[in-house]
Subunit: 335 residues, 2 copies
């Protein structure tokens, strides 16, 4: 079966495409195992490192996925297909440019869902949502599938709107969708991105590369973290699960573990000492915009429904740092 991944030029999209290539099959419930015949990796821009080492049945489409032409070019007209929809304007960019965020995250997503609905093939899809659907003064510190969402960013609002669409399009049998709410994903290699949660990766990545890091939040800030390995696994499990069995809410809040920034720093120092890595300095440089938004985010998740599908959090920060060193040792420039 054909698989389409949007946002394939981003970090998680890149890892997901690699994982799908390695697996070669997906165990779709309740119908059974299917072979992945081809993958269309689509994004506005797909850097060379996202393309390297992939088999020839992966093709790349660089296009603005919020346009009719681009959507038309990636969604099959006749055959059944699987779609992972990750492409989005991230939270920081969304706060800076409301219209762009609406155009890409809301209108672009609706266009994609409409193309799925209009295809003669059956579409099964996973939509990447976010814990940014939660917030506000009455938001409990630990959130889950039963918590009332109340976005405090345009990004979070568009993600929640996407979840609503997934539910209604699935209820109407226009497609077979499911959404997963991502906590803060770490450790992202490469350059910082415009997500307001970017510090949760930079905090590890920069010091590990011997670069000083300016910490924009308090060391007492709690963050719900999940590693990129675990989130890629969650995307696969979300696609494989039986959509009907999710009931009337097809959104799953992913598991995470809650860490305070100070504990993240201690874990980093322990691993660095073990491995003989000389860390760059972490310099407290509070940023009021980041603090205001991040303080409104929940710090933990309750994820029984996701866990019942086999999705799980990492056992420790140390484990994630070690995996990062293993996967991106050279990329990070560390000797």
């Amino acid at each position: 079966m054909k698989v389409i991944v949007t946002g394939a030029g981003g970090f998680i999209g890149t890892q997901l495409v690699r994982e799908l290539c390695q697996r070669g099959t997906l165990a779709l419930r309740p119908s059974g195992e299917v072979e992945i015949s081809s993958i269309v990796a689509a994004d506005l821009c797909i850097p060379e490192e996202s393309r390297q080492g992939l088999p020839d049945w992966v093709s790349f489409v660089e296009a603005d996925l919020s346009t009719d032409e681009a959507v038309d070019s990636i969604i099959p007209k006749e055959e059944d297909f699987l779609l992972f929809h990750l492409a989005a304007i991230v939270s920081g960019d969304g706060e800076r440019d409301f219209d762009l965020c609406i155009r890409v995250n809301l209108e672009g997503t609706v266009k994609l869902f409409e193309a799925c609905r209009n295809s003669r093939g059956q579409a099964r899809l996973v939509f990447a949502s976010s814990l940014a659907v939660f917030g506000g003064e009455a938001c409990p510190p630990v959130v889950g599938d039963e918590t009332k969402p109340l976005p405090q960013t345009t990004y979070g609002m568009t993600k929640l709107a996407g979840e609503l669409m997934i539910n209604d399009y699935s209820r109407k049998d226009f497609l077979d969708g499911r959404a997963i709410r991502l906590p803060t994903i770490f450790i992202r290699p490469g350059k910082p991105n415009a997500a307001l949660s970017s510090f949760a990766s930079g905090l590890f990545r920069e010091p590990l590369s011997g670069v000083d890091f300016e910490l924009p939040v308090s060391r007492e800030q709690g963050v719900p973290l999940l590693s990129y390995r675990k989130v890629v696994e969650a995307f696969v499990l979300a696609m494989e699960c039986d959509g009907e069995a999710l009931g009337d809410d097809r959104t799953l809040t992913l598991p995470s573990r809650q860490y305070f920034v100070r504990d993240m720093i201690s874990a980093l120092e322990r691993v660095a000492e073990q491995k003989g890595i000389t860390l760059g300095k972490i310099i407290d440089q509070p940023d009021p915009l980041v603090i205001k938004v991040v303080e409104g985010w929940p710090i933990g998740t309750e994820s029984k429904r996701a866990e019942a599908l086999g999705m799980s959090a990492d056992s420790s920060v140390e484990e994630v740092i070690e995996a990062y060193l293993e996967d991106f040792h050279e990329v990070s420039g560390q000797a």
Copy 2:
């Protein structure tokens, strides 16, 4: 100040325009009292009975409000204004025509909000939402501002999306919005409409007119009811309240009282006996589509925030039947 009412050809819109004409002023918090200089009553179609007896500072615009031209023609470019946005495809029609529901309730609403944002005048608006934002298996029987919404109709989904937009547009200072969630409003005069809750008015209206009524739901069904007099008052209070004081969620679940169909019928029989009215028969004629949707709706509301603003439920069904006979005695054709 100029006031615009969309959906002014509908029952609640008609009553709201009349109430605004009678009041002549609105006590906007925190700025103070303003005189209503003119009212633009807009809808796809505005019947003669909605126009009768209104002063000459009310003008009527018949147009498809989901088009750019219509929105452009009713939203002021320079002056401050107040907007009551009631126009919508109702629940039953929305289930039958998904595309129409999305075009009018979602895209049309966004167009209107965008016009408010782009106006050089300040826009203050009340958006008519609905208890249809709630539903699903895990929905508690009594819902309120802290309950997780989970729409089970396209209508409910578009109403929830409108609430999200109100919050985000207000947060970004694009407009000063607030949304009120309407329970089932009764007793509507005239013909049945395509709302799935239409039976809650027909149940009284048809027998009072000596016409037999086919009851599409069980007599054990509970319904959260609010009279048209109370909902018009709630629209005015929602416009008058201080939007900033609503905090990060500008949606208010309106008060209602929960009645079972059997109690509604008993109250009807009591009033009819008192007034010497010979009622048409109520015939049980269960409709699976209506039952399925209505059973998923909540049967009561918890509305502390709305009550703190002076919004309230009716004291009894009898009172509402009597008000209906007073207001629509001739319209209903009863001698």
